[in-house]
């Protein structure tokens, strides 16, 4: 078990190294004149050249990357070129915001899709058809469109929620709920569609198994059969999809955070990438890679807990 975790962590480190190298290369290729972009059109050529020198942009690529890497290994990711904020502070302060959204959306989509999936699989008939239509709609309508509609109706017209911004839970739980509810709904919708379909299919499969008939014949209530036995068997594939979606939600958060002006990782990623804020983008790449590696490891362990068949001997 410990050897398994160590091996996964080691491959994670290699993965992070590869990803960061590729990202640096891409940033460099697409970078252009970053010093000019920082200073704007009113700066003189001499000022721009001085800035480029100060940032090390006049050095060869491998020297720049080597310097970044040697600092990164010691935990120093530098400061943003466009806001002067230390990169580690920029990421940690925003990580909790994005996690609020992503974890919230994951929990909501897990709960809602279990309810809908089980309903569709056990009732069948018109309930099933309605759920199917909703999931197809959920797939088809892009999250940002839902977000825009939600803002217009619930924030601007009805004024129930806030149209933009974010309030920390610790500052005001009510304010937090007023700012995160709409983004979470917008984010969760796609996830609900995917996981509901998966649970519906797995539950239908599981219900046909012999052990279900046996359990029923022993007089167990339908609720007990479905929620205690069938769902546990059907949960594995759904969990795998949920895990993929959890990582995918970080991508979805990029757009949702832009629309709601939420100071999360997604928003800062969009701004930093278009500006060419290399230290900040590289910090984000490393942070995201770490999250992906860790989440995948946790999911693997959870799978083993749920399903003894995938456990390593």
């Amino acid at each position: 078990m410990i050897r398994f975790i160590l091996r996964r962590l080691l491959s994670g480190v290699i993965l992070i190294f590869v990803i960061s190298t590729v990202a640096y290369l891409l940033l460099y290729l697409g970078g252009g004149d970053i010093a000019r972009r920082i200073l704007g059109q009113s700066a003189t050529a001499a000022t721009v050249a001085q800035k480029a020198h100060a940032l090390g942009l006049d050095q060869p690529l491998f020297v720049q990357y080597g310097q970044w890497l040697s600092h990164a290994v010691t935990g120093s990711l530098g400061s943003s070129w466009f806001t002067s904020q230390p990169v580690t502070a920029a990421i940690t302060s925003r990580l909790s915001v994005t996690l609020s959204l992503v974890i919230g959306a994951t929990i909501i989509s897990a709960i809602v899709s279990v309810i809908l999936g089980v309903l569709a699989a056990t009732r069948r008939g018109w309930v099933d058809r309605v759920v199917q239509i909703f999931t197809i709609l959920g797939f088809a309508i892009p999250g940002f469109l839902v977000a825009l509609a939600l803002v217009t109706v619930f924030a601007i017209d009805l004024k129930i929620f806030k149209p933009t911004g974010f309030v920390q839970f610790a500052t005001s739980p009510g304010g937090w709920a007023a700012t995160v509810t709409l983004p979470i709904i917008a984010l969760a919708l796609g996830g609900i569609a995917g996981v509901t379909q998966q649970i519906r299919g797995s539950v239908i499969d599981a219900l046909r198994q012999d052990y279900v008939r046996t359990l029923r014949s022993r007089g167990l209530s339908n609720t007990r059969v479905v929620y205690k036995h069938v769902l546990r068997n059907a949960g594995g594939p759904a969990l795998a999809i949920l895990a993929v979606q959890f990582v995918g939600l970080f991508g979805g958060a990029v757009i949702i955070e832009q629309i709601f002006a939420i100071p999360g990782l997604g928003q800062v990623a969009v701004i930093a990438t278009t500006q060419g804020d290399i230290p900040l983008v590289m910090g984000l790449v490393v942070a995201t890679a770490i999250i992906v590696v860790v989440v995948n490891l946790i999911i693997d362990l959870l799978q083993g807990f749920l399903n003894p068949k995938v456990r390593l001997s």
């Binding site: 920082i38 009113s42 050529a45 149209p163 002006a261 100071p263």
Partner: protein, 506 residues
């Protein structure tokens, strides 16, 4: 069914609870507002005084620092930290007398030594506007309240520059602090609340309780919220989350006024073509004044104003702003749309069969504009070959890689505008066009008497228009939006109104 009812009931309770919280959280109560929330389009690059940006970033600096001089809304200059400012005869030594009752928020006194150190740090710092103080040879504290600035050569822009970021004064004790870029120590009307601030997103300030000029502080709290996305900004306006904000474009003005906001218009930029290769280095055609004039006549500027600028702006042929002493209303229509005349001028220059120009394009400035103006040039026989410069548009045009290109350029006060767009060394005179007439006029503007200088600005403006150094289409309207609780006086020479010109309406 029973379970559904219970679920609905819970949902209703939760929704009601949220409504209660949301309503309790907003502070739009009756009476005079004590909090000002401003929308800004860019985050603060840095709060370190020696690296401060200006224009759209000006409210960050103005919140925490005082400037030596103050810019009035019309661009004229008034005392501030410096109560008196006098030049010697040839304007190479400027003496500033300082107030003696000003303290930084760390408790130390703002004295002549602090001012002198700040001036030299700005000159040698990393601000994009560090050239504001390029003429400064030295700055010394003659006594605790007198600063003497010696110049390498006189600079007509210096006083104006000292009203901006170049004149801001930071506590010397903060110079060496590790967090100098994000935790400023100044003497300004507000103090940055570092704990409540989310860098890059929202900057929260509290009133400086010991501010020396309390009459200028109209609010107890100030928040600068950054909106990099136009949709988010529009939603914040509709949701009443900002009291006032700058706008990135005029696309949403109808919706902004429908939300109860007032638009405060201002003309800060001109847009059109830069015809910078006036010696014909990259393309001999551009060296011929008739070709450059033909390009001016080829543009239906009113149609371009409607199509590109949604009608918000004023057609013009000159690059000097209305506030300039050189401004001439007649020059706004020096070149009116006349394709026949354009063709005749091209024929006279030997291009009866047309010519081809190389120009850059970028999606950053929109896509329609390039198609539209290329079509108008095509109509008189000029073909434009575009190269997509993407993110490198500005560096490519300044390189210079092109003899002519589309641009949006700021209209600074006269001397700054000349140094920026016209002088041989100007950033946007990338081919360094120079001739005796222009040199003589610039010399007169620099060193002549006030009357001579004013006349020379007029003459220079006319010369540049007659010789078609540019092909302006129109002055663009910038739109600053304010809600029903907020009054503002816009600043003639800055993209963002100055902070003390925001006042609450009770």
């Amino acid at each position: 069914m029973f379970r559904w009812k219970r679920l609905t009931a819970i949902a209703a309770v939760v929704a009601l609870g949220l409504t209660g919280c949301a309503a309790g959280g907003s502070d739009s109560s009756s009476g005079t507002p004590t909090t000002l929330t401003l929308g800004v389009l860019v985050p603060a690059t840095t709060f370190e005084a020696s690296g401060l940006n200006w224009a759209n970033e000006s409210p960050y600096g103005q919140a925490v620092y005082d400037s030596l001089l103050r810019g009035n809304p019309d661009g004229s200059i008034a005392p501030n930290l410096a109560t008196d400012y006098t030049y010697n005869a040839d304007k190479t030594v400027l003496t500033l007398k300082l107030r003696t009752d000003v303290k930084f928020t760390d408790g130390t006194a703002l004295d002549a030594s602090a001012v002198a150190q700040n001036l030299l740090r700005f000159r040698d710092g990393t601000s994009p506007n560090k050239s504001y103080l390029a003429a400064v040879a030295d700055a010394t504290a003659t006594d605790t309240s007198t600063v003497t600035i010696t110049l390498k050569a006189s600079d007509p822009s210096l006083l104006s520059n000292l009203t901006r970021n170049a004149g801001m004064v930071e506590s010397p004790a903060a110079f060496t602090k590790a967090d100098v870029a994000t935790n400023p120590v100044g003497s300004g009307p507000y103090i940055l609340d570092v704990a409540k601030t989310v860098v890059g997103t929202s900057y929260v300030f509290e009133k400086n309780p010991n501010y020396w000029k309390p009459a200028d502080v109209h609010y107890d709290n100030l928040t600068l919220s950054v909106f990099s996305d136009a949709t988010a900004l529009l939603n914040a306006i509709k949701g009443g989350q900002v009291n006032a904000t700058n706008t990135a474009s005029n696309n949403d003005l109808d919706q902004i006024t429908a939300a109860g906001f007032t638009i405060n218009p201002l003309e800060l930029n001109w847009t059109g073509l830069m015809l910078i290769d006036r010696d014909g280095t990259s393309n001999p055609a551009l060296g011929d004044v008739r070709v450059r004039q033909a390009i001016n006549y080829a543009f239906d500027t009113k149609a371009l104003l409607q199509a590109v600028g949604q009608g918000y702006g004023t057609p013009t042929s000159q690059i000097f702003p209305k506030t300039s002493v050189g401004y001439d209303p007649a020059l706004d229509s020096a070149y009116t749309y006349d394709p026949a005349k354009a063709k005749a001028l091209l024929a006279a220059a030997g291009y009866a069969n047309g010519l081809t120009l190389q120009m850059p394009s970028t999606s950053l400035l929109g896509t329609a504009v390039f198609t539209l103006y290329a079509q108008q040039l095509k109509d008189v026989g000029i073909t434009v070959n575009f190269t997509d410069a993407g993110n490198n548009y500005i560096s490519d045009v300044l390189a210079p890689k092109y003899g002519s290109y589309y641009f949006i350029l700021q209209e600074d006060p006269d001397w700054a505008l000349i140094q920026f767009s016209i002088a041989p060394t100007a950033t946007f005179n990338s081919y360094h066009t120079q001739n005796a007439t222009v040199d003589a006029l610039i010399e007169k503007i620099h060193n002549g008497s006030q009357a001579d200088s004013d006349q020379a600005v007029k003459d220079l403006n006319k010369y540049v228009v007659d010789n078609a150094w540019f092909a302006p289409w129109y002055r663009m309207q910038s739109s600053f939006a304010t809600d029903a609780h907020t009054k503002v006086t816009v600043q003639a020479d800055n993209a963002y109104p100055y902070l003390w010109n925001f006042t609450p309406i009770s």
